[in-house]
Amino acid sequence: MSDATPSAMPRWMDGTGASADIVLSSRVRLARNLEGVPFPHLLDQRQATEVLAATRKAALELNKFGFLGTVRFVPLAEVTPVERQVLVEEHLISPAQAKDVQYKAVILSQAEEVSIMVNEEDHLRIQCLLPGLQLQEAWALASRVDDALEQAMTFAFSESRGYLTACPTNVGTGLRASVMMHLPALVLTNQAARALNSVGQLGLTVRGLYGEGTEAIGNIFQISNQITLGRAEGEIIDHLSAVVAKIIDHERQAAAALLREARDQVEDKVSRALGILSNARIMTSDEAIRLLSDVRLGVNMGILTKVPLKAANELLIMTRPAYLQRLAGRELSPFERDLQRAALIRTKLGVRQTA
């Protein structure tokens, strides 16, 4: 392997932002549609091509505002399937956007904190993805992009229903805000279900990143708003932020309790995880996520002092199948991936390769 670290990782993985020990990322997405044009699933070839052309033009005009750096317009039909999958793994496009790509595109800001999906379920989906707990910042940035795009195009809007979307679950603000949280101490102390169930009753939804409920692999959960209509964007963001702050508190209390009452067991668990990651030669993605979660817990508790949080965050993405294949420069069989994954983790954790 020539270089384990690709030049550019999206900014959201850099381990900064408020409460970055617990909150991996904050995302705000705005759904927008062009006035007078059917929604993407009904477009004929000519109309779909016109939407692409109009958004390409609007994307170029974003450059003149400067706050997004140099903006790239990427027609998804022009990149390889592996590259498209990497964009999914980096959370820059949705899995649906990587399918049937003929008339689809993504607009990326220079630091990739803004990605605009073109012709997904709606004509435009403006996404802002920032590290740590930065919902207000993500909303402010998304809204600024929305304002800038509005200078080049007219969005479908109704006074009573707000921004009109292909699916009525998004109508109104078109806003979906979500926070990705790592909650290992709540899971270890069997409190995750209780802490998260209450969230469901507050008009928010919880998803395990790799599973559901308390069995989320890697103890990663995503909390997002369900209601998009009848509340202003600021209210939605404030409500979600307040709930997330409570969960952060719970997680911190659970971590403190663990240190107080089971320090030896926790030290053993996280040290073993680091030991396996540093030495294994074959590593499945499932095992990698579970062990990386333990290592992250050890870093946050101050037990593992030599692993930077940023490395643990980046490995969560870099050990995904498409990412590994991009690093290798070719398609890999599942077994080859397991070998590559183990090697990449050792390199990234600073373990010297044995000859």
């Binding site: 707000g162 509340r231 499932d286 199948p321």
Partner: protein, 169 residues
């Protein structure tokens, strides 16, 4: 969408497998995904919300829940029908919101607990809508003032509304 594997539980995982240069996509429920081993790192909060809507509309046309329309409504702009929306959860164009207003109203209320937008407004046309919202809010205060027999305040609010509506013309 049902799980490709067991065809029983709803699919919550979307996996992409590349075997011998063949790309296959799998939609699995949580249980089957775990049994299969390799799980795609997917972060689509919209998915569960779509399922909520699917539950309300009962897509797939299972008998009973979905209120049968005597005559299907058709959007005059895009040509899609309410029936298509009920099956797919997607409207054809922004005009469909007006065409299917009566049918959509209860669904929107169920999903959002509200039916009127109070958030951001496009810069274009923003001013007139902002004034309208302001007037509505003063009207509510006026009602309250009358209810409390505070006629002095009511007169003041009435003048305010008049002035704002005049400014609009």
């Amino acid at each position: 969408m049902l799980c490709d594997e067991c065809k029983k539980r709803p699919a919550t995982f979307h996996m992409t497998k590349v075997v011998n240069n063949e790309k296959t996509e799998l939609h699995l429920c949580e249980q089957c995904a775990r049994e299969k081993g390799e799980i795609q790192f997917s972060m689509e909060p919209d998915f569960s919300i779509h399922q909520l809507l699917a539950g309300l509309l009962n897509y797939g046309g299972e008998a009973g829940v979905q209120p049968a329309l005597e005559k299907d409504v058709v959007c005059g702009v895009c040509g899609s029908t309410y029936d298509e929306f009920a099956r797919t959860g997607r409207l054809g164009c922004s005009h469909c919101y007006e065409e299917f207003e009566d049918q959509l109203e209860p669904i929107i209320r169920r999903v959002h607990g509200a039916s009127t937008h109070t958030g951001k407004v496009p810069k274009r046309g923003a001013r007139s809508l902002m004034v309208k919202r302001e007037v509505q809010s003063i009207r509510n205060q006026l009602q309250a003032a009358i209810a409390h027999e505070d006629f002095e305040l009511a007169a003041k609010l009435r003048d305010q509304i008049k002035a704002m509506e005049k400014g609009q013309e």
